[in-house]
Symmetry: C2
Subunit: 202 residues, 2 copies
């Protein structure tokens, strides 16, 4: 796994030929048990890396299109799975917990629900107040700029726009870690504001 901007935050990626971007997963390494977000299959090397750092406690899935290797990793690690409450009735795998707005997964990691994306109640996560972690709605197919999930995939563009406005109002965001594409490590708030502005003017 690759180190993000903090030594307790790691990532692994798979290149997607359809979109020419990397799909990313995140591991937050914690003494009380790691939290994995939208985990892709792990190579043997990354498995060993992850397990050398301790136990995995939770797997958080932001939306049903990002289940990826969650079940296999849960089976292998004994981690519990958390998914979006708004998808509870139809989620393809069983979750130990269903998350909605304001829930705290573990101390320091809280949930925001986004609306209008390709699935209802897509989760965005706020880590230590200044790191935003997004699944599908907010992404970056090009380095150094955020974009929205393309319009044809949005269930409700107006609701999606309102969710982005809300993310853009979080003035403390420094880092935006995206599930699909290029993450932003500095001035995340400004990038979210630029995205929100683009939606309004576009």
């Amino acid at each position: 796994m690759k180190f993000l901007h903090r030594l307790d935050l790691l990532t692994w990626s798979v290149f997607d030929c359809d979109r020419n971007v990397d799909f990313n997963s995140i591991a937050w390494i914690r003494p009380a048990g790691h939290v994995l977000i939208d985990p892709l299959p792990l190579s043997d090397h990354d498995w060993q890396h992850l397990q050398s750092l301790g136990e995995t406690a939770w797997i958080v899935i932001t939306n049903s299109d990002h289940i990826r290797a969650s079940q296999e990793i849960a089976d292998r690690t004994g981690a519990q799975i958390a998914g979006p409450r708004a998808e509870q009735a139809t989620f393809a795998i069983g979750c130990d917990r269903y998350l909605a707005e304001g829930d705290e997964i573990v101390p320091g990691l809280t949930v925001m629900e986004l609306h209008g994306s390709k699935t209802p109640g897509e989760l965005a996560l706020l880590l230590d107040d200044n790191i935003l972690i997004t699944g599908d709605l907010v992404r970056a197919h090009q380095a150094n700029q955020l974009m929205l999930l393309p319009q044809p995939k949005l269930q409700d563009p107006k609701a999606a726009q309102e969710s982005v406005q809300r993310l853009a109002s979080l003035s403390q965001i420094e880092t935006v870690l995206v599930g699909d594409g290029w993450s932003i490590f500095e001035n995340g708030h400004q990038y979210l504001q630029a995205l929100a502005q683009k939606q309004l003017s576009g």
Copy 2:
């Protein structure tokens, strides 16, 4: 290939298990012929992507440890190869051109020679004045911070430090594209200054 911050700059990567970083290559897409920098092997998908964008004119190799797939790609594309002049006597493959300080490879892409790295005269490239492209000496094993090639690999730490000071004096640098690890897309000059300062104080 993935899009960097400009639509005419693309990258492809291979994860390196020894260092837990991505090794990166760059393609600068140009009507007069693309320039590839330190090219890794290309997947079939990336080959098709590259060739769909036109001809490849030049392959630039920053140092003899970054030859990677240059010869195979040159054979397949007809591109010419350029390598560091200071390694001319011992370079493992033949180059069509040997580059040194101040050379212009194609309009907009100029050469700086770095000293004290693991090989003599390692090339750094300056694209359009505000993009610095580095091979081995300046790198990022962790997102959002630059580092120097680890000390045991430096031929001359003092000369390396002086080269970094020189890079840090380029106040117009916004972007630092590294061969190994995480590139910087904003405020590159400040990151280079922080690196130089760390060398001085360390």
